[in-house]
C-alpha cells in the first residue's frame, strides 16, 4: 500500500505555463487571509484584488512573448496562444469589474471581502476553461466559474429581485449542467476518451452511430448555449442581469459569456470538428433564432440593463454564426479568429456601457430609460462615452464594433455557400433592427428634456472614470486601427495543422 503510494510519480508541471493561475490563486488566498485577520480587511480587498490581477498579467505576457506551447496532463491542459489571449481577456475584464465594484459594493452595505474572493474564484474557473482540452477539466472549470457566479448574482440578498436573480440563474444553470453531463457521459461511452483530440478522431469514424452522436453533441453544446445565453436557453439572463448588482451583471455579461464561448470553441473546433454535419445545422438555427429573438425583444425594453441583456443575447447570436459555416474548406481558422476578435471588442464596449449605467445610477438610482433623458445637459462626458459604446454595439464605423461585425460577415461570405450568404443577410437585417434600440437610448440622452429638471452633475469616482476612459479609448482605437485586435485574434489557433494554422499567422 505504502509502496504503491511511493511509486506515484507526479506529473511534470511547467510552472511557468501555470504561473498565471498560480498568481490568481495566490491573490485569492491573500484576500481571504487579510479579510480574516484584520478588522478593516474588507477595505483592503479591492486594492489587493486589483493589484494582484495586474500581477497575473505579467506571466501571461512573458508566456506570450516566449511563444512556447505547453501541453500538460496528457493533453488535457494546453497553454497556447488561444488560451493566453483569452486568459488575458478574462483577467483584464475582472480587473475592470473590480474597479467598477469598488464604490458600488463599498457604499452598498454588502459583504466586501467575500465578494472579491468569489469574483477571483470565478476568474480562476475561466482561466482553466481557456486551457481545458478535456471534458472533465472543462466540467470542473465550468463549475468553478458558475458556483461563485450564482452567489454573486444573489448578492443583494435583502432585495426581492436579487433573490430572484440568484435562484433563477442557479436553477437554470444546474439544469443545463445536468444535461451537459449526460451528453458527456454518452460521448465517453461512444469514444472511450475524455480528451477532445481523441474524441474528434472517434466521432469522425464512419461506423459511429449518427443518432447517438447527434444526441450527445447537442446535449453537450446545450450546456454551454445556456452560458452564452443563446435562445431558447436565454430566459434567465434579463432577470438575473436586472436583479444582480450591476458590476456583477457586467461580469456575467462579459466574462461568463466569453467563458461559454471559449468552451464552445474548443468543443466545436477541436472535439467535434469531424462532425460538421451535426453541429452546422444546429448552430445555424441557434444563431438565427438567437439574433432575432434577442433583437426583437430588446426593442420593447424600457430598462437599459434589460435592454443590454437582450442586446447581449443578440450579440451572442452574431458570434454563433461562424460556427455554422465552420467545416467549409474555405473557412478554416478564420471562423475561430473572427469569434475571438468579436469577444475582444465585445468586452471593451460592453464593460464600457455597463460602466456608464453604474455611474449614472449613482445619481438617479435607476437604470430605466427615462433616467437617461437629457443626460447631455447634466453629464456630457458620460453621454459622449455612452454614445460611443452604443453605436459600437450597433456596429457603426469608426467604432470598434464595426470590425467585430465585419469579421463575422467576412467568415460568412468566405464560405461561398448558401448557408453562409443567407446568414450574412440575416446578420445584416438584424444589425438594422438592433440600431433602432441602441439609437433610442442615444435619442433619450441627446434629444429629450431632463425628466425632473434636475441638472446637478453626476459625481463619478476615479476608478470608474478610469474604466470609462480605458474602454472608450479602446473602442475608438480598435475601430480606427483594427490590427490591434487581429494581431491577437489571428494568432489563435486550436488545431496544430499546417493548413488550418499557416506558420505566418501562428506568432503574435
Amino acid at each position: 500500500m505504502i509502496a504503491s503510494l511511493l511509486a506515484f510519480t507526479a506529473p511534470s508541471i511547467d510552472f511557468h505555463a501555470f504561473a498565471p493561475e498560480i498568481v490568481v490563486v495566490g491573490v485569492l488566498v491573500l484576500v481571504l487571509i487579510v479579510d480574516l485577520v484584520t478588522d478593516e480587511g474588507s477595505a483592503w480587498a479591492p486594492s489587493i484584488a486589483s493589484l494582484g490581477l495586474l500581477a497575473a498579467l505579467i506571466p501571461i505576457i512573458t508566456l506570450a512573448t516566449t511563444e512556447h506551447e505547453v501541453s500538460m496532463f496528457g493533453g488535457a491542459y494546453m497553454v497556447d496562444n488561444f488560451s493566453l489571449v483569452l486568459k488575458a481577456l478574462f483577467v483584464v475584464t475582472t480587473y475592470l469589474v473590480v474597479l467598477l465594484s469598488m464604490n458600488y459594493i463599498g457604499e452598498g452595505d454588502y459583504w466586501e471581502g467575500e465578494y472579491y474572493q468569489l469574483l477571483i474564484a470565478a476568474l480562476l474557473g475561466m482561466m482553466i476553461m481557456a486551457s481545458a482540452r478535456d471534458l472533465i477539466t472543462m466540467f470542473i472549470a465550468l463549475e468553478l466559474l458558475s458556483i461563485p457566479a450564482y452567489m454573486l448574482a444573489a448578492w443583494k440578498k435583502s432585495a426581492l429581485k436579487g433573490n430572484e436573480a440568484g435562484i433563477k440563474y442557479y436553477l437554470m444553470g444546474v439544469f443545463a449542467s445536468a444535461v451537459m453531463l449526460y451528453g458527456m457521459s454518452m460521448i465517453y461511452g461512444i469514444t472511450g476518451s475524455t480528451l477532445l483530440t481523441e474524441i474528434a478522431e472517434a466521432v469522425g469514424r464512419p461506423e459511429t452511430s449518427t443518432p447517438i452522436i447527434t444526441l450527445s453533441i447537442v446535449f453537450v453544446l446545450v450546456g454551454f448555449a445556456f452560458k452564452v445565453s443563446a435562445v431558447p436557453f436565454h430566459s434567465w439572463a434579463p432577470d438575473t442581469y436586472e436583479g444582480a448588482p450591476t458590476p456583477v451583471t457586467t461580469f456575467l455579461a462579459v466574462a461568463s459569456k466569453t467563458a461559454g464561448f471559449v468552451a464552445l470553441m474548443t468543443l466545436v473546433f477541436v472535439g467535434f470538428r469531424t462532425r460538421a454535419d451535426v453541429f452546422q445545422p444546429m448552430m445555424w438555427a441557434l444563431a438565427v433564432v438567437t439574433m432575432f429573438v434577442g433583437n426583437l425583444i430588446a426593442l420593447r425594453q424600457t430598462n437599459v440593463v434589460r435592454m443590454l441583456a437582450y442586446s447581449g443575447v443578440a450579440q451572442a447570436g452574431y458570434m454563433l454564426a461562424p460556427f455554422a459555416v465552420y467545416g467549409y474548406d474555405s473557412v478554416t481558422s478564420m471562423a475561430l479568429s473572427s469569434i475571438v476578435a468579436y469577444l475582444l471588442v465585445y468586452m471593451v464596449m460592453n464593460v464600457g456601457a455597463f460602466a456608464v449605467v453604474i455611474a449614472l445610477a449613482r445619481k438617479t438610482g435607476s437604470a430605466e430609460l427615462s433616467a437617461f433623458s437629457g443626460m447631455r445637459e447634466f453629464a456630457p462626458g458620460l453621454t459622449f462615452a455612452m454614445t460611443i459604446f452604443l453605436f459600437s454595439l450597433a456596429g457603426i464605423p469608426p467604432l470598434g464594433g464595426w470590425f467585430a461585425k465585419f469579421a463575422i460577415f467576412q467568415v460568412l461570405v468566405s464560405s461561398e455557400s448558401p448557408w453562409g450568404y443567407s446568414l450574412a443577410v440575416i446578420v445584416g437585417v438584424n444589425s438594422v433592427i438592433a440600431l433602432f434600440y441602441y439609437a433610442r437610448v442615444a435619442k433619450a440622452m441627446w434629444m429629450e428634456p431632463v425628466l425632473d429638471g434636475d441638472l446637478t452633475p453626476v459625481k463619478v469616482p476615479v476608478s470608474q472614470v478610469t474604466v470609462l476612459i480605458v474602454t472608450a479609448v479602446a473602442t475608438v482605437a480598435i475601430g480606427v486601427y483594427p490590427s490591434m485586435v487581429t494581431r491577437f485574434s489571428s494568432s489563435t489557433c486550436l488545431i496544430a495543422d499546417p493548413v488550418e494554422c499557416p506558420a505566418d499567422t501562428a506568432a503574435p
Binding site: 454614445t387 457603426i396 464605423p397 461570405v413 461561398e416 445584416g428 486601427y481 490590427s483 499567422t505
Partner: protein, 547 residues
C-alpha cells in the same frame, strides 16, 4: 491607355508614408480640432467657435495648397498617393489618392465647411450648445474628406459611415419639430444600404482574383485600382448581383427613386447648416460611389444595370418635379428639387459616356453650390419669418430686397439658366443620353451596347423635366418674393435684410456659381482626362470579356 491589362498588373506595392501625403493631414486635422474642442470647457463658446473655424480654415488651406500642387497635365493619374498596410489580416490598406474626379468634390467639401461655421457664428439653432454642434461638424468633415480620397473599399466604407453619426445628431438634436423621426429614418435607411454594400464588397473581395503582396504572398484585395482587373473573372450573373448590392447602398444615399423618401424629411427637419452640408456634400457620396467604385469595377454588369438606373433617374426627375409643384413648404420644395437634380446626375452616369461622366461630376458640384446656397436662404428666411409656409410669405423683395434677389439668383441658377453653374450640369447630362454608351475616344470607337432608343426616350422626358423645374422654381419665387408683404409680416421688425455674417458666408458661393457658369472649362479641364481614362479602362475590361 495601357493595353497590357493582364493579371501581371495585380501587384501591391507600399507607396509613400503616412505623414508624407497632404491627404492624411486633410483627414486628421479636423479630428485634432475636435479633440482640442473636447478639452475646452463648455462655457467658453467663443473659444469653441474660433477653434472650429481655424481648424476648418487650416483644412481649406491644405486644400488650396493641393489645388496649387496638383499636376493638371496628369489629372487622370492619382496624385499625392499613399498605399500602406492598415488591416493586414484582410489586406485592407490605407490607400489615398486624388485625381480629376475627386479633386472638385474634395474642394467643394473643404469650401463648404468653414462657410457653414461662419454662417452659424451668431445663430446656433436651439438648443445652442456650440461645442457639441461644432465638434460634430468637424467629425462630419473628416468623414466626407476621407470618402473622397480613400481608394480602398473598406477604408471608403468606414469614412462613408463616419458621416452617419454626426448627421444623425445634427438632425436629431438641432432640427425642427419632427426631428427625431427624420433623424432615425435617415439613419436606418442609410444603414440598410450600407449593410448590403458591405456584403457586396466582401463578395467582390472573395470572388475576385488574388493579388501579389510586397512579400510575395497572394491575398485578396479591396484596392479600387486593382479590383477592376481582379474582378474581371467573376461571372456576369454573380457580378450583376454584386452590382445590385452596391446600387442599393449608393442609390439610397443619392437618393434615387424609390429610395428617396428619407430625404425630404431629413432636409426639412435638419438645421440650416445640416441641410446645406447634406445637399452640398453628403448626397454626392452616393453618385461618387457609382463613378468611382461601381462602374469601373464591374463595367459589364453596369451596362446591364444602366437601363434600370436611367429609367429610375428619369422617374426621379419627373416625380421630384411633380412633388415640388405640390409642396406648401419652401424647404421641403427645395428638398424635392434635389431628388430631381440628382436624377439628372444619375441619368448622366447611366449613359456611360465620357461626356456623361463629365456632366455628372460638374452637376454634383453645381448642385452642391446652388442647392446648398438655397438652403442657406431658406434658413435665413425661416429665422426671419419663423415659418416657411409658402402661402404665408409674400413680398420678400419689398421687405428684404437683397435676400430676395439672392434667392432669385439661386432660383435662376437652380433651374439651369445658361451663364450660371447649374446649366453645365443639367444640359450635358441630357445630351449625354442621346448617344448613351457610344463614343469615340482617341480614334477608338467605344460601345457598351446600351439600348439607344430607350435612352433617347429618356432624354426627351428628362428635357421635359427641365421645363417643370423652371415651372416650380419660378412659381415658388413668384409667390414668395413678388407681391406685397402679407398682413401678418407687413410691420414685423424681424424681417431684416442680409446681415454681414450672411454676406461673408454667402459671397463665395455666389461668386463660384457665376465663375463656373461663365468659365465651365475651369472644372471640365480637370475632370475630363480622368473620366476619359476611366471610360477607356471600363471598355478594356469589357473587351477582355470581364464582368
Amino acid at each position: 491607355m495601357d493595353p497590357q491589362l493582364t493579371t501581371d498588373l495585380l501587384q501591391v506595392q507600399d507607396v509613400g508614408s503616412f505623414f508624407g501625403t497632404p491627404l492624411t493631414y486633410l483627414i486628421f486635422v479636423p479630428v485634432v480640432g475636435a479633440l482640442i474642442m473636447m478639452l475646452i470647457p463648455k462655457g467658453s463658446e467663443t473659444a469653441h467657435k474660433v477653434v472650429a473655424l481655424a481648424t476648418s480654415l487650416v483644412t481649406l488651406g491644405i486644400g488650396v495648397y493641393l489645388l496649387q500642387q496638383f499636376d493638371y497635365d496628369r489629372s487622370a493619374d492619382l496624385q499625392f498617393g499613399v498605399n500602406l498596410p492598415w488591416i493586414e489580416s484582410i489586406n485592407s490598406r490605407y490607400i489615398l489618392g486624388l485625381d480629376g474626379i475627386s479633386l472638385p468634390l474634395l474642394l467643394l467639401t473643404l469650401f463648404v465647411v468653414p462657410l457653414c461655421i461662419i454662417y452659424s457664428w451668431n445663430h446656433f439653432p436651439e438648443p445652442k450648445d456650440p461645442k457639441a454642434f461644432l465638434i460634430l461638424i468637424l467629425i462630419l468633415e473628416t468623414g466626407m474628406v476621407g470618402s473622397f480620397v480613400a481608394l480602398d473599399l473598406i477604408l471608403f466604407f468606414v469614412f462613408f459611415e463616419v458621416v452617419l453619426l454626426p448627421m444623425y445628431f445634427l438632425i436629431g438634436v438641432w432640427g425642427g419639430e419632427q426631428r427625431q423621426y427624420a433623424a432615425i429614418k435617415f439613419f436606418l435607411y442609410t444603414l440598410f444600404g450600407s449593410a448590403l454594400m458591405i456584403i457586396a464588397f466582401l463578395a467582390l473581395y472573395f470572388l475576385s482574383d488574388m493579388v501579389t503582396m510586397p512579400d510575395g504572398s497572394m491575398m485578396h484585395t479591396f484596392d479600387m485600382k486593382l479590383l477592376p482587373i481582379a474582378a474581371s473573372s467573376i461571372t456576369l450573373g454573380t457580378a450583376i448581383w454584386i452590382f445590385g448590392g452596391m446600387f442599393v447602398g449608393f442609390g439610397i444615399k443619392v437618393p434615387m427613386f424609390p429610395f428617396h423618401t428619407w430625404l425630404p424629411d431629413a432636409h426639412t427637419q435638419a438645421p440650416t447648416v445640416g441641410s446645406v452640408i447634406l445637399a452640398a456634400v453628403l448626397l454626392k457620396l452616393g453618385t461618387y460611389g457609382f463613378v468611382r467604385i461601381a462602374l469601373p469595377i464591374l463595367p459589364t454588369a453596369a451596362a446591364k444595370w444602366a437601363p434600370v438606373i436611367g429609367v429610375l433617374a428619369v422617374i426621379g426627375i419627373i416625380y421630384g418635379a411633380l412633388c415640388c409643384l405640390a409642396q406648401t413648404d419652401m424647404k421641403r420644395l427645395i428638398a424635392f428639387s434635389s431628388v430631381a437634380h440628382m436624377g439628372f446626375v444619375m441619368l448622366a452616369i447611366a449613359s456611360m459616356t465620357d461626356f456623361g461622366l463629365n456632366a455628372a461630376i460638374f452637376g454634383m458640384v453645381a448642385h452642391g453650390l446652388i442647392t446648398g446656397m438655397l438652403f442657406f436662404v431658406m434658413g435665413s428666411a425661416k429665422e426671419r419669418y419663423h415659418t416657411l409656409e409658402i402661402k404665408r410669405i409674400s413680398g420678400m423683395l419689398v421687405q428684404a430686397p437683397r435676400l430676395g434677389w439672392i434667392f432669385g439668383f439661386c432660383v435662376m441658377a437652380s433651374l439651369g439658366l445658361p451663364g450660371l453653374a447649374g446649366f453645365w450640369g443639367e444640359f450635358p447630362a441630357i445630351l449625354s443620353a442621346y448617344d448613351a454608351g457610344q463614343m469615340t475616344i482617341a480614334g477608338v470607337d467605344i460601345s457598351f451596347g446600351l439600348n439607344i432608343t430607350l435612352f433617347r426616350t429618356l432624354m426627351v422626358i428628362a428635357a421635359i423635366g427641365t421645363v417643370f423645374a423652371a415651372g416650380y422654381l419660378l412659381w415658388l419665387f413668384q409667390r414668395t418674393a413678388f407681391g406685397t408683404p402679407t398682413a401678418e409680416f407687413a410691420d414685423d421688425p424681424h424681417i431684416t435684410d442680409v446681415s454681414p455674417t450672411e454676406w461673408l458666408a454667402w459671397t463665395p458661393f455666389l461668386v463660384l456659381i457665376v465663375v463656373f457658369g461663365v468659365a465651365p472649362g475651369l472644372m471640365f479641364n480637370v475632370i475630363d482626362p480622368a473620366v476619359t481614362r476611366s471610360i477607356q479602362e471600363m471598355h478594356a475590361i469589357t473587351l477582355l470579356g470581364g464582368s
